[in-house]
Amino acid sequence: MLKSPAQSTPTSPVSVEKTKSKLAEQEAKFTLNAKDKYFAWAFLGPSLLILGVFIFYPMVKTLYLSLFLTNTVGKPTVFVGISNYINLLTSADYLSSLGVTLFYVFAVTIITIALGLVLANLASKRLPGIGLFRTLFSATMGVSVSVAAIFWLFIFNPSTGFLSLISTWMHLPQIPWLTDPTAAMWAVIITTVWMNLGFTFLILLGAMSSVPTTLYEAANIEGASSRFQFFHITIPSISPTLFFVSIITLIESFKSFGLIDLMTKGGPTNATNMLVYRIYKDAFYSGNYAQASAESIILTIIIALFTLLQFKVLEKRVNY
């Protein structure tokens, strides 16, 4: 028997009504009732509170302060727009700090990654007692910044330090590690690299040990030297990890503060006055909260750019 069109098409008034009421029913199911809302906020509350108090509020407040002049207790007085930023970016002093920081950041990153690669490559060999070296190489992970700073201050000490003793013994000229601007920069770089090396080493070692051994066996049979294997198998295989640790090291170095404070206090003659240390001094020594806020925002933007770069590149290369 044939059905009439009105009965079978869904556009008939009756079925439209039905569909609507069904949709409404479904919507009702997904709307939270009062009790559910209460629970939702109860679960979200703690993290929102913590994030709000410690992250969102300071961020917004910093941005806000950077657009004002402030008095000595950090209260905004006059709205000046972006002139804090203009002042900073035209100040030779700030630009020199930026330059110093960039030099430090890239030196630390390059040296850390290079040494990390060398150590990880050595430690990935199967040799008796290699476990001891793996432990030793990653041991600096357990050292706090203050301990590292004090330890290296001893080493750099001009009269009793280990380095000066070696120089004397080998009849080399003494390097005034912490009083010469160039040497102080390298002293800080060496200490930072030493601190970072454990982590970098461990991550790279992990990446290297996940490269299938058959790749190396195939290469051995094909006649590839170990140098060729390192550059044509190991490096490409771990490249996503390599890039990841590079960016992490880069970002962490931008944020260096503890070592600077403990070792050089930004000196001598601002040679190690990195961005974060400068923010600290501008805000809490000079009381120039507005300028410190603007500096913070600039630093945030720089780090955000590198983070963005990391995401973009990793997205592309993570599967080779």
Binding site: L215, E217, A218, N220, I221, E222, G223, F228, H232, Y320
Partner: protein, 362 residues
């Protein structure tokens, strides 16, 4: 390029012996298959020939030159791995060119060699793909191309087809065989698959329990197995191995319980003997209970033949392959017999050369 192993042994430590006293000569241009069950040490043996695993004792020679202490690259061979060992970050072309680049060959030569190798395995169109963009069979071909591109005349393959599906395996089997013949490679091929061994090999080495069980051509191995292990390893369905006793009345006669009686031309030299009968050398016919010596458990019709799974009255399981289709119902009594190609093994499993002019009847 011939390869000779002399009394090769491998221990991982004092307790774990993996291989013992392996001696064999693989001739130039030969397709040599090493076959055995999982864990019998066949891959280890291959890796020792490649130089990837050191040998504990004995001698490996290539072209009569001892290579025990030579690193893999100095042995002038190539290897195809079970997982293909392709470099995931390189495209097909670079994967194939890897060894040539590593040996710092001239760019133009590399290009020519790689092009030829890719053409030989029909991969020219896919030269710019990464391994992850290829199917299993295509990856397998890249690995083959890499072996082809290198000039080495010895090629080692470690279960190269075990990651492929059944259809593809048959196809690649033929391609590998054709390639080996075309290039005149001395190919040592490790597999656990008796069919691969039977179909491709010039000579087969059967390994089990640390020892070489037998070395021979496929037909020697099948028709003349050295022991019951080899007999059981080759042939589907498996050979029937039945326990038999020398008859008390007539020492020319062997009894499998009361089910089968086998008369030999010569005296049976031992009290207990194992008899091997290939399923297709047996016959089965429907029988009255009095005459029957077995009961049908199940039958499998394969199109051109039927496998009958039955239990002898003594309780031993037996397979019989008969041509065409037969219809036995389950628990139907049948009479099985055999009159040719019987093999005899002693209780240790070692082959006994007894006269084949024997017959079996109920």
């Amino acid at each position: 390029m011939s390869i000779t192993l002399r009394n090769v042994r491998k221990d991982y430590d004092a307790q774990t012996e993996v291989l013992k006293d392996i001696s064999v000569k693989v001739e130039t241009g030969e397709f040599f298959v090493i076959v055995g069950p999982s864990g019998c040490g066949k891959s280890t043996l291959l890796r020792m020939i490649a130089g990837l695993t050191p040998i504990t004792a004995g001698e490996v020679s290539i072209n009569d030159k001892v290579v025990n202490d030579l690193p893999p690259k100095a042995r002038k061979l190539t290897m195809v791995f079970q997982n293909y060992a392709l470099f995931p970050f390189m495209n097909v072309r670079d994967n194939v060119a890897f060894g040539l680049k590593a040996r710092k060959m001239d760019q133009a030569d590399i290009k020519q060699r790689v092009d030829e190798a890719l053409k030989m395995v029909n991969l020219t169109e896919l030269a710019n793909r990464k391994p992850r963009e290829l199917s299993g069979g295509q990856r397998q071909r890249v690995a083959l191309a890499r072996a082809v591109a290198s000039d080495a005349k010895i090629c080692l393959m470690d279960e190269p087809l075990s990651n492929l599906d059944a259809q593809l395996r048959i196809k690649m089997r033929q391609e590998i065989y054709a390639l080996q013949r075309k290039l005149g490679l001395t190919l040592i091929y490790v597999t656990h698959d008796q069919v691969e061994a039977m179909t491709m090999a010039d000579h087969i080495m059967v390994l089990n329990d640390k020892h070489v069980q037998q070395i021979g051509t496929p037909s020697e191995i099948y028709q003349n197995p050295a022991n019951d292990f080899v007999a059981k390893f080759f042939g589907t369905p498996q050979i029937n191995i039945l326990n038999a006793q020398r008859s008390q009345n007539d020492n020319h006669v062997l009894n499998v319980s009361s089910d089968l009686e086998i008369a030999l031309d010569e005296e049976v030299p031992a009290e207990n003997v194992k008899i091997g009968i290939r399923p297709d050398d047996m016959k089965a016919e429907a029988a009255e209970s009095v005459e029957a010596n077995a009961t049908v458990k199940n039958t499998e019709f394969l199109g051109d033949e039927t496998i009958i799974y039955a239990t002898l009255n003594s309780g031993e399981d037996i397979h019989v392959v008969v041509p065409g289709q037969v219809n036995y119902r389950i628990f139907q009594p049948i009479k099985v017999s055999a009159d040719s190609n019987l093999m005899f093994f002693d209780t240790e499993g070692k082959r006994m050369n007894l006269s084949k002019e024997a017959y079996v009847h109920a």
